[in-house]
Amino acid sequence: MVALKRISEHPVLGPLASEEIEFEFDGKSYLGIKGDSIASALLANGVRTLRYSNRDGEPRGLYCGIGHCFECRMTVNGVPSVRACITQACDGDVLESQGEDRRENHDDF
């Protein structure tokens, strides 16, 4: 099964790697492709929110993609604050978001 945002056909790049991995994020099971980063595997499944901010409990996702901003940090197999953008997703990983959604009703802008 090709995940929501996976680019299976590409005009220049070759075929996708086909070896699948299975992992868990916040209690739900997902499939990724071997070689995925944790952030790419989750985004392929349409998951953008990777944690909630410390102060206001707002959702946060991947930002810089190079391990500098730490916006994508999460708990990986019990180890807290691992950067999802530069950590490879592995078969059997148990991933958990950090923080909790504490937003009150807020305006879009």
Binding site: L13, A39, L43, S53, C64, I66, T87, F109
Partner: protein
Amino acid sequence: MISDVVVIGAGPAGLSAAVAAAEAGAKVVVIDENPRPGGKLLGQLHEEPGTGWWIGADVSKALAKRATDAGVQILTNRQVWNITPGWEVFLDNGETVCARYAVVATGAAERPIPLPGWSLPGVMAIGAAQTLTNYYRVRPGDRIAVVGVDPLSLTVAHELSMAGADVVGIYLAPRNVFSGTLSDPDRNLQYLAGMSELAPNAFLRWGGRLAANRAFRNLALTFYPKFGLPLMGTRLNLRKSIVAIGGNDRVQHVEIATVDKDGNPGKTRIVDVDCVCISGGLYPVQELTKGSEMAKIDELGGTVPLYSPEMETSQENLFVAGNVTGIEGAKISMAQGTLAGTVIGSRLGLIHNPEAVDTASAAVRAARKSSAITFMPDIEQGRQIADDLWTQLEQGKTVAQKDESFA
């Protein structure tokens, strides 16, 4: 761990330095915090005039293979916490790597452009979108707006549309305390003039050449098409900026303002998107060259270590290569890395050809000359400033030594 050479960063510069030194017979260790070698080269994908598609993932793989074939040990998933003269490199797992020569090839990072709503999931740096799309093969969004006009954002916008995303447009940054000249239509048009050779359609190429002229820019901006210029599957808007990003728990829309030719915002409207890519430009990542003589040179992208024609910093046996020295393309980084590795190989007494270093220096100059993309419009002035400062430093050193002998 003891080695002849320790290289920090397994991108194009670091791998090339490692290959040059290891193929000469040196023992080399490369350290990188990413799960695999390649750095930002992994996500690159563009068509080059005359030579076809540049697929960064393939180039990375070939370079890494060449390195390991030459005996280079590549330590991935390892962060460097400190480096001290000698040279000793401290890793996050408590290990250290000791080597007579060190090469800092830590590359660049992106400058953000903060704007209202930019912390929502779905807003990301343009480089993050590039790696997701071309390396991980995941679409960052289905309808994407790009903020910031520069060679990287134009290239990635094209890559996103090739991957099936609807790129609604490339827009100016909003005028705020962070964006500086990125919000100024005239500065952006001037910038485009510097990349006219790369411009993918005739109109922009024509416009790009004329944009070097101030009077033409004024005219072009006054009559700039309301709906932007068509460009590689998207639209380039020099008279619109994204002033806010909105959504409940993720990006759902952007607020786009029309701006006059001086960059003042006017009417706004809402456009639905699910992803916003921010391109604020790149700066050299130079923390690990601490202790070396540094200079802030905006034409190169920020603060950089000064270095000799042999890529050595003011600290003995500490070398630099790649974007840590200024923002340029991967091919130039590779040539710089090869030069650093060749110099080290010679100093170790492993390279006996007296012309090897000159050949490697000439290759850096050739790579610059044939570069298809110029990231920094005034890069040549920047290089000149850096070279002049190095010369002054050398003269200063001589003066200081004289003073000491006098004392």
